[in-house]
Symmetry: C2
Subunit: 200 residues, 2 copies
């Protein structure tokens, strides 16, 4: 049995935020690790000619209602931020920069950015917000500011996005466990069952 779940997400995806609040506990029940892999869903939208669900006619209003209802069911604090969606380039770069030296702290930064955005309406699309959020976790401001413009960090993010597309990732949240893909918050129950039973 594989020991890790790959968790693909976009920092601007509200469904992925809801997933991020539940995936580690789900995996821990089965003694499984979770590797957080932020990527840029814009690359998928470009590849497939699609657009964010929440911006679509008819489906958009439904999804706003469904998101709020789902968050209440799971007991997760949640608001649709304004502005929404935003470009999460800086958030992703900060994540991959930090992950190279401290994956645990990188995950804490991701959680703090998500909660800041979807609870406290702090715009994670702005580099300043990313830097301030990192600083609140004790990360050096100058170091993270420099990382956002670092060529190696930029390359690492590009590689992460390309890697996600190559693995067939097309949504957020999107989970890969062994050879199984699970798309969406609403497949986390199947992932849970798969981990419990070893598959069917």
């Amino acid at each position: 049995m594989p020991q890790a779940i790959d968790f693909y997400f976009d920092f601007s995806s509200p469904y992925a935020y809801l997933g991020s609040e539940r995936i580690d506990a789900l995996a821990a029940k089965h003694g499984c690790e979770v590797i957080w892999r932020p990527y840029l869903m814009g690359a998928v939208f470009k590849q497939l000619g699609t657009s964010p669900l929440i911006s679509q006619p008819v489906k958009g209003p439904y999804s706003r209602h469904d998101l709020a209802r789902s968050a209440r069911l799971y007991g997760i604090d949640f608001n649709i931020p304004d502005p929404f969606p935003v470009n999460s380039l800086a958030a992703c770069r900060a994540y991959y920069w930090l992950e190279a030296s401290d994956p645990t702290l990188a995950k804490q930064l991701a959680q703090a950015l998500y909660r800041g955005y979807f609870i406290d309406n702090r715009n994670l699309g702005e580099a300043d917000v990313v830097v301030e959020t990192a600083a609140s976790l004790g990360i050096d401001k100058e170091a993270v500011t420099a990382a956002l413009q670092d060529g190696d960090v930029k390359a690492r993010l590009r590689s992460a996005v390309e890697g996600a597309l190559e693995k067939g990732v097309f949504g957020a949240p999107f989970f890969i466990y062994g050879d199984q893909q699970f798309w969406g918050c609403d497949r986390m129950d199947h992932l849970d069952e798969w981990l419990e039973t070893g598959g069917w």
Copy 2:
């Protein structure tokens, strides 16, 4: 509390077929009825400029895998038929013709058509298959054949499709209970919880 769930589906939707095999039992647990409302998702695709999930790049291969995996999890016999998808005009007309006089038999016909298509690969897009399936339930062949070209029946289907769009239905399966919409097989757990708790 409302006493009925509206269950919107397209006869050509594999996810709606999976939903159709589970919705009546789910509702019965809560003493709730289910009103089956076939419609033509082509009208939605036209309205929103979208296409069937299974025909889309990247998402299509995923959904084939997910459908098979979901069917196995629920213990439902299932194959992707060939041809797929098909135009379900005749199936819908037969349903609404029968529903006017015998809703229970109409639901049995819908189930028989679904199972014929998704288990035994009988093409419900063909009027002959619809007529033969109806005959297997004891329905007069000449009567159903005539109904498929009946002006009143055609009008009833058009009205059903327009009614679905007016209510904001955009997928299959799609459930409406009171003022709540639930889209997809993967929201049936939320619907179940809503019926159990009275909402949250």
